[in-house]
Amino acid sequence: MLNWNCDKELYPDGLPRCSLAKFSPVVLIGGALLTWGAIGAIICLGYGLNKTGMNDYFALGLWIVFDLSIIALGAGAFFTGFLNYVVGRKELKDVINAAVIIGFICYSGAVAMLGIDIGQPIRGWFIFWHANVHSMLTEVTFCITCYLGVLLVEYLPLILENRVAQKQRFVRLLSHNFHEFMFIFAGTGTFLSFFHQGSLGGMFGVLFARPFSFREGFLIWPWTFFLFIWSAIAAGPAFTTLIVSLTEKISGRKLIPYSVKMFYGKVSGWLLLTYIIAKTIDTLYWALSTLPRMGVTFHSLYAEGPYGLWLVWLELGLFGWLPALALVYPKVRKNPALLMWAMVLDVLGVIFNRFVFVIQTQAIPVLPFEKFMGYMFTIPELGIAVAVIGYGLLVFGLSYRYLPVFPREKELNPVEG
């Protein structure tokens, strides 16, 4: 007879968890998505990137949209660390572990996906060896790699806090000492994240021969450098809150106080509002000044194919101004459903922004005698992208099940505690 609670020794101290049977959908769905991704990876690595929908007009596709999006959404990790350890918002201790795990999933998933995306994965280290210091992508690679190391160091003490692992004296001491020095890693993470979030925006802003994404800027940094950081820290905390809320829904347990969600709503709201003001000014300046000097008009960039002006209204209006104004309004934040919907729009906005910069930049022809190009991903390509979701489901699910991710879980659920 199968014992569905055979893993209870591993549960966090004093916290109940569902049986393995109830937990199995998490493993099955996550495993299925990962398997789809693994098959896609074998096909793409074995037969080449011709198995994707990319071509010489769409050199960057779904994976880069996914990469940029999850790195932006993973910004909740560094920003929570910054607010908790550097600014001193101690109430964020309740959510810092979850933010670190989400950040780790996002960054490690992005790096894994990039490993498949490059045509010569075995030469990936050439970026470090033959680094071109003028390339924004070099900066992105250096900072993301370093920051992934930081996230690992931040995640490790939590893994060591597993009830069984804590029985070892060495592990106990090690995890305690890690916690003592965590503010250093939080500071380092903030510094690294600031630059790679910005450089991801800079990657597109510096494309001065691609008017759709080109932006002027300050010294060597195009405005997209600052806008990408801004949008990432506006959406990152919202994404962390949404994932925690989803975990609460699935587990049926309260994991963080609602005041933390409201605080994150307020932070996201004000950051999103200031971001969307800057983004609107940036769009106007680009449309009225930058583009005419490059020989194109704003309307000509939205004149062909499905990528019309509706993209601008959607990004700035529905995914920008609307959630920003909603989140800065206290009554909205006090209503759990409205708070969640506003955060969903906030998160969709940053994904949409990354999609537009990657896909539309390449779809719009620069040569007057070139045509508008469409792009559609393939099944293996999609599999590799959604594998990150499966990976996230597994890592976050297992972490919640076996590690003390939420320090106030017991206190917030007194009956079961």
Partner: protein
């Protein structure tokens, strides 16, 4: 990126569109010279290796006023802030300090394709497939040009190897290697002599003179990339295709 310009040599090309008949000899000779591969199925032109692509332009008018022109498009070898060079994270694409040729180091390229996205002229090509040569054609591969591997980017390099061979020959003969000239395969193959190639900094060269011709223009000049490929035409409607007009960009019509 600050680029040192201490050379008296700047390779450039001038293509006379009034002479071009669109025969494709330049494109074919480019492929043969540079060991460009074929795909099993060449119907998907979005992944074809066409370092020198020929566009057909028209004047937006109906018969009998309808007119056509052909525009061969090699790499522009942009001289200012070369878009592909500055973005490459692994320094796999370079612009020579002497001569200004923009080249690709195949064995260093990691295949990230950022350069492909950065190039507004679509002059860069990624090896989506393992290179394939129909049976027997391996015998005709050019031993002076390496074949490329899957997963790297490649592009026109103004037949850089021919310059190297010309320098070797000059050195062998005891001549001044800095004064050698050479002809890329496309210019050599053009039956109407529409493609000129030479040193843009040599005031006596054809290309230097023709680049200053009133008929001369370059593609997308407003972007400031300063291409080293010039075009000549006496037809205004052809010249209009060189850039997006600020207030009335023509709809895409060429291919």
């Amino acid at each position: 990126m600050k680029q040192v310009d201490n050379s008296k040599l700047l390779w450039g090309m001038v293509i006379d569109l009034d002479k071009c008949i669109g025969c494709g000899a330049c494109s074919v000779s480019c492929q043969a010279e540079n060991n460009s591969p074929f795909k099993d199925d060449e119907s998907d032109k979005l992944r074809s290796m066409t370092w020198l692509k020929i566009y057909r332009l028209h004047n937006h008018k109906e018969f009998p006023e309808y007119r056509e022109a052909y525009l061969p498009r090699p790499c522009m070898h942009c001289d200012h802030h070369t878009p592909c060079v500055s973005v490459c994270p692994a320094t796999a694409t370079t612009k020579d300090e002497e001569g200004g040729i923009v080249s690709q180091i195949y064995t260093r390229c990691i295949g990230c394709r950022y350069c492909v996205a950065a190039c507004p002229y679509h002059a860069r090509y990624f090896n989506w497939f393992d290179q394939h040569f129909p049976a027997g054609t391996e015998e005709y591969l050019n031993p002076d040009v390496s074949v490329r591997m899957r997963g790297v980017v490649e592009k026109c390099h103004f037949c850089h190897h021919r310059w190297m061979l010309a320098k070797q020959e000059a050195a062998y003969k005891g001549e001044d290697t800095s004064k050698v000239t050479y002809t890329p395969a496309c210019a050599e193959a053009c039956p109407t002599g529409a493609i000129y190639f030479g040193n843009l900094k040599d005031p006596e060269s054809d290309v230097a003179k023709l680049s200053k011709d009133p008929r001369a223009f370059r593609l997308l000049e407003k972007l400031g990339t300063q291409p080293k490929v010039y075009y000549l035409t006496s037809r205004d409607w052809v010249k209009e295709w060189s850039d997006n007009n600020m207030t009335d960009a023509p709809a895409a019509g060429g291919h």
